[in-house]
């Protein structure tokens, strides 16, 4: 943590803190960081449902929620309380244990992935070297919640949804992984903080430009991975009712809902981190904004940091909702064709192009001598 933030803390508290053993200090700060990130993610989920309904409402010439609170801003909380007080109906022929565990299995990876995502140049829960691999591993574990929910409810619709989801996620994970191989080659590190550092120094250094095909593949695969429209065949409310969570109600359903939106926010943030410079400010390197960097109060904004990551994340969330309001659902065979026969060849070709770029020292490698 930078020293400037420690300024306003009274001296006696600092002294008291220093009397604690290091293990306890470490545990307390880590728990506190986890608490901050989890609460922030859950609040983001709550307001992104509001954001989604407003965006889709305006695209369909409606007003969206506007009854609870000022301009409907309290609508998410009304929804949460409604879900909390609803009865959880467990189907009598279901596998009760797996039925209860499945929503937790889909929520845990969605929240645990946030451990390695840096919010700015010093706030990250776990600054591990294999951060990118950790992200890939945990996003692939999230599918268990969906599959087990589909199987444990003992319903045909749910099982159909689970099978579709499993095939889809396994297919798009490969394209996603290959897109990240490109990131790895460009940044030369698996540490997510280093990946962001590699893109610092203005918009021209963002991987978005040099790895544009990989960006498209990663983003679309991310949409498919979160089972969002137009890839929402796992839910498919117009054909298999609600897919894997058809038999879930109340809090159990709310957990699936939370997991889905947490995953969307995660994919948006990861796309911002991998391709759009993460917390780095896009105004870097423009002489026009140079004077603002040292100005009090607004300097921290122009210097880059969490606000930029948040803005970039919101842009991608908007694209999620935009896609949902615009496109009809993909046919299942077309999803598979897109994943296996279009995305994977595109990523493999671009990895070779990147190799050529590195060899000729153009793009992100120019002057770096890597």
């Amino acid at each position: 943590m930078p020293e400037s933030l420690a300024g306003p803390i009274p001296q006696f508290l600092v002294d008291f803190w220093n009397t604690w053993p290091p293990v306890l200090q470490y545990l307390t700060t880590t728990l506190f960081k986890i608490l901050i990130v989890t609460v922030a993610v859950i609040l983001c989920v709550a307001f992104s449902t509001y954001f989604e309904r407003k965006v889709i409402g305006s695209m369909q010439s409606r007003v969206g929620p506007n009854r609870v609170g000022w301009k409907g801003l309290l609508q998410p909380f009304a929804d949460v309380f409604k879900l909390l007080f609803k009865e959880v109906v467990v189907p009598s022929q279901s596998n009760r244990f797996l039925y209860v565990v499945a929503p937790l299995l889909s929520l845990t990876p969605a929240l645990a992935t946030w451990a390695v995502i840096p919010m700015n140049d010093w706030f990250v829960i776990a600054d591990i070297n294999a951060g990118l691999l950790y992200v890939l591993a945990l996003t692939s574990v999230g599918v268990y919640g969906v599959i087990l929910a589909g199987w444990a409810t003992n319903s045909k619709y749910a099982l159909l949804g689970a099978m579709r989801s499993a095939a889809q996620i396994v297919a798009y994970e490969i394209a996603m992984g290959f897109a990240l191989v490109g990131i790895l080659m460009a940044s030369g590190s698996l540490n997510i903080g280093d990946i962001v550092e590699a893109q610092s120094g203005g918009v021209g250094n963002w991987f978005l430009i040099w790895l544009f095909p990989l960006f498209l593949v990663y983003w679309i695969a991310g949409v498919a991975e979160t089972n969002r429209a137009p890839f929402d065949v796992a839910e498919g409310e117009s054909e298999i009712v609600a897919g894997f969570h058809v038999e879930y109600s109340g809090v159990a359903f709310a957990l699936f809902f939370l997991a889905e939106y947490a995953n969307m926010i995660l994919i948006s943030t990861l796309t911002a981190v991998f391709f759009r410079g993460g917390w780095a400010s896009p105004l870097e390197g423009f002489a026009l904004f140079e004077p603002f960097h040292d100005t009090a109060w607004i300097g921290w904004f122009f210097g880059g940091g969490f606000p930029w990551l948040f803005i970039k994340m919101c842009v991608f969330m908007y694209v999620f909702f935009w896609l949902r309001a615009t496109f009809p659902r993909y046919r299942y065979d077309q999803i598979m064709r897109l994943g296996w026969k279009v995305f994977i060849p595109v990523t493999i070709v671009w990895i070779f192009v990147e190799g050529a770029m590195a060899w000729l020292e153009v793009g992100p490698w120019a002057g770096a001598g890597a």
Binding site: L98, L133, Y134, L136, A137, V141, W151, V170
Partner: protein
């Protein structure tokens, strides 16, 4: 001290989960126990500071292989009674295999440990050691041929699996996606201009 406590806790849980794979009646439960076993194995690797192996174990086995396992097991109607009837028939073979594996384990852990006194515990790694970098440094230099041969064998396996399952039967209807995409409205739709008819 803390390391050994954590090791025995996770190793114990792993052993229990592995027993669960063998003894659970429900095949889906068995698969989930196996997933749990893999997770604990990954934690043991993390304790040995082999973070690359640990995460790849989760990524490949838990994230992909076991998903496909679950996929297949969910589709099967496993007859538990029939499987139990086979127990006595396969028991001698199973015990023989278990014995061979036990001998191998003893060989690795006990006999090698006697010869090579370094294997007494995990060797502490130097500050700033990265398992990923260390693996990459030998994998692409010293062992590059073995690595590439493994890749070619895997490619062969993929092609073989596809050839075995691909079945061309006569009269199969296939869509030409390029043709579908290239279709324009005027190919399919004819707009007819006609006068309004009298109400009947």
């Amino acid at each position: 001290m803390l390391h050994s406590v954590l090791f025995y806790v996770f190793a114990g849980v792993m052993f229990g989960a592995a027993m669960g794979v063998v003894f659970s009646r429900n095949p889906v439960h068995a698969v989930m126990f196996l997933v749990f076993t893999f997770f604990n194995a990954a934690i043991l690797w993390l304790l040995a500071e082999a973070e690359f192996l640990a995460i790849v174990l989760v990524l490949v086995y838990v994230g992909a292989v076991m998903v496909l396992f679950l996929f297949v097991v969910m589709m099967l109607e496993v007859d538990v009674e029939a499987a139990k009837r086979g127990l006595t028939r396969y028991a001698p073979l199973g015990i023989a295999l278990a014995l061979v594996m036990a001998i191998e384990l003893v060989n690795v852990i006990w006999l090698r440990g006697k010869i090579d006194s370094d294997v007494g515990g995990f060797v502490a790694t130097p500050e700033g050691y990265s398992n990923t970098e260390a693996l990459g440094a030998v994998l692409y230099t010293e062992h590059v041929y073995a690595f590439e041969i493994a890749a070619v064998i895997l490619l062969l396996a993929i092609i073989a699996a596809i050839t075995l399952t691909m079945r061309k039967r006569p009269g199969l209807k296939v869509q030409d996606v390029a043709k579908q995409v290239a279709t324009r409205a005027k190919d399919r739709l004819r707009v007819v201009r006609m006068d309004a008819e009298k109400k009947q």
